[in-house]
Subunit: 354 residues, 2 copies
């Protein structure tokens, strides 16, 4: 009761059109289909191709093919790891929330970062799925009536519409636990120290000083003007922390990665984390709802502070470009020969049309 | 909407009497004060006293003193680790949920199990707090209107009554993440393999095949008759998994614990996990609300299946006694000389009056 955020705008009924209904506000990426015609790598390093990885030759392919391959790999792994056979239909709600969803940006970042450091492929796939499960649970909880009260996501009824609020709450809770379960397989598949490092990074990014904290700021900021510093802090926590953690976790699957390279990847992660949100705000006013897959202009309509409302459109575009350049410079500075997928992902984040 | 559990009985308004209001149904332990006059150890092993631990001589004291000392230690650690300085008041809601609460049975089990295996004291305290944070978050979410819709817990307004539903949801989410954060401190304070093992145990106990799964069964079972096997499965997951994990996590703080001892501790954990619920059901019909700190007879009033309704009171009492004896035998079989605190905790679980 009380501090619940007021529902944002009128909602389409379940089963309504995915493109026209108010599905989601800023902070998430949610194309219903795998991106078609994604950008080719821009300036990929000529010195070394990505690392050959167990059973996959995709790293020799160009970026769209790499991306499709990795998205399929993540989808298959999530389908394997998010359980069917749980009591009382809970697994069904979890799978509904986690499968068949979005561009899988966070998993792609984790996988690309792991390739950049020639990391452990099994650990990378687990990290990719774990970070996606945290993202998925946050969407389930964020959609609940006491939060954003959204009825559609990616063109489907939201989890609580489909399964009831209580089951949605539990499914989100169980998805968070599952993320840490994926990172700590029994046996000797992953080094114990790597398991601990991955849990450490994910727990911090998900918690009160990360994603959950950013959501609390967002909640408290409804109807209050935010300055750029406050807006930046909110987004750094709400969206940026998990994006940056995706890169960090990918990097943590490597052995003996130089500290300078890790610092450079951190800078890369911070830049694209912020760029993601700036571009979200730009698209909110420039793209139409059909391209966006959600209601355009929604943030402005409810008076939510955005980069565009604070800086204007031209300065926001310039900021996005600057952040992309910073991300590229960080990769150059990393000294990592296999960073070209990360470079292409930065371009994707900044130049996406939805 | 839809599958939300109907509120159970009429609720007292915030600020109402803690003893008479409908605060909580079975599955949790929630004395508002540290227990006074708790049982002395029954048949504590004469062969060895508990292990002396850094800075504390409490293990040489008798059980009530040991318990008070450990409860204070857990309270202080939680107060140190559940953060104040988080954005938008989220930490305040988290602290409200986690501090000043209950008997701390789960932490006591973790600490006692660690003492039984002469485990790492820092790891034990972190495990104790982590398992309590999972318990605390589950109560916050369980109290939400879409679940049990409870307005009072331990005589205080529930978290959503005090802070709003959205903040309660986020506080619960952040408490879960914090549990894993506590288990993975940076630096060399805890062995990496121990951190991974603790996360592994906690994630499984909290998730779809543990606590969250048990809650889903509970949710689905409203108004449906359950047989004893189904009732047992629900409780094993909903309450038992986390109680057993408390013991396992404490044991995981030891080095080179024999497999047979670990198996015996597992059997101990399973026995007291179930005993806890059987006793809860007995108290629901035998204790008055004042002694219980919650509405007596509540489960029966809403037609929830309980051990008493299935087996009758005498057979339920016999079952509780059998489970206590099984827990004691498991400790005897463990060959662990320092298990007397675990023995006393089994007695506490079975002979408690609230």
């Amino acid at each position: 009761m009380s501090a619940a955020r007021p529902p944002v705008g009128a909602k389409a009924p379940p089963g309504g059109s995915a493109t026209a209904a108010g599905v989601k506000r800023g902070g998430t990426m949610h194309a219903a289909r795998p991106p078609v015609g994604a950008k080719a790598p821009s300036g990929g390093s000529a010195t070394a191709a990505g690392v050959k990885r167990g059973g996959s030759h995709a790293s020799a392919l160009d970026f769209p093919a790499w991306m499709s391959d990795r998205q399929a790999q993540v989808e298959a792994a999530l389908s394997r790891w998010v359980p069917f056979d749980t009591p009382a239909g809970l697994g069904e709600a979890m799978r509904y929330a986690a499968l068949d969803g979005g561009k899988r940006l966070r998993p792609l970042l984790a996988l690309a970062a792991s390739e950049a450091v020639q990391g452990n492929a099994e650990a990378a796939l687990r990290a990719a799925c774990a970070v996606e499960l945290i993202h998925a649970y946050s969407l389930v909880h964020d959609d609940l009536p006491c939060m954003d009260n959204d009825v559609l996501r990616r063109g489907k009824p939201t989890v609580h519409v489909r399964f009831g609020q209580a089951q949605a709450l539990l499914a989100g809770d169980a998805l968070q636990a599952l993320a840490f379960e994926l990172l700590t397989p029994p046996g000797r598949a992953l080094p114990q120290a790597m398991q601990a490092a991955l849990c450490r990074l994910l727990a911090r990014a998900a918690g009160a000083r990360g994603m959950a904290g950013g959501q609390a700021i967002d909640l408290a900021s409804v109807g209050k003007p935010l300055g750029e510093a406050e807006l930046r802090e909110m987004h750094q926590l709400k969206t940026g922390a998990l994006l940056q953690a995706s890169v960090r976790m990918g990097a943590a699957t490597g052995a003996r990665v130089p500290a300078a390279a890790l610092a450079a990847l951190d800078d890369y992660g911070a830049a694209i984390g912020l760029a993601f949100q700036v571009v979200d705000d730009i698209l909110d006013v420039t793209a139409d709802s059909a391209a966006l897959g959600k209601t355009a202009g929604k943030d402005a309509a409810v008076g939510k502070p955005t980069y565009v409302s604070l800086l204007g459109l031209p300065a926001s575009r310039a900021l996005a470009g600057d952040l992309c350049a910073r991300a590229h410079r960080a990769l150059d500075a990393s000294g990592l020969p296999g960073a070209r997928r990360l470079r292409a992902l930065a371009d994707l984040v900044v130049h996406r049309k939805s």
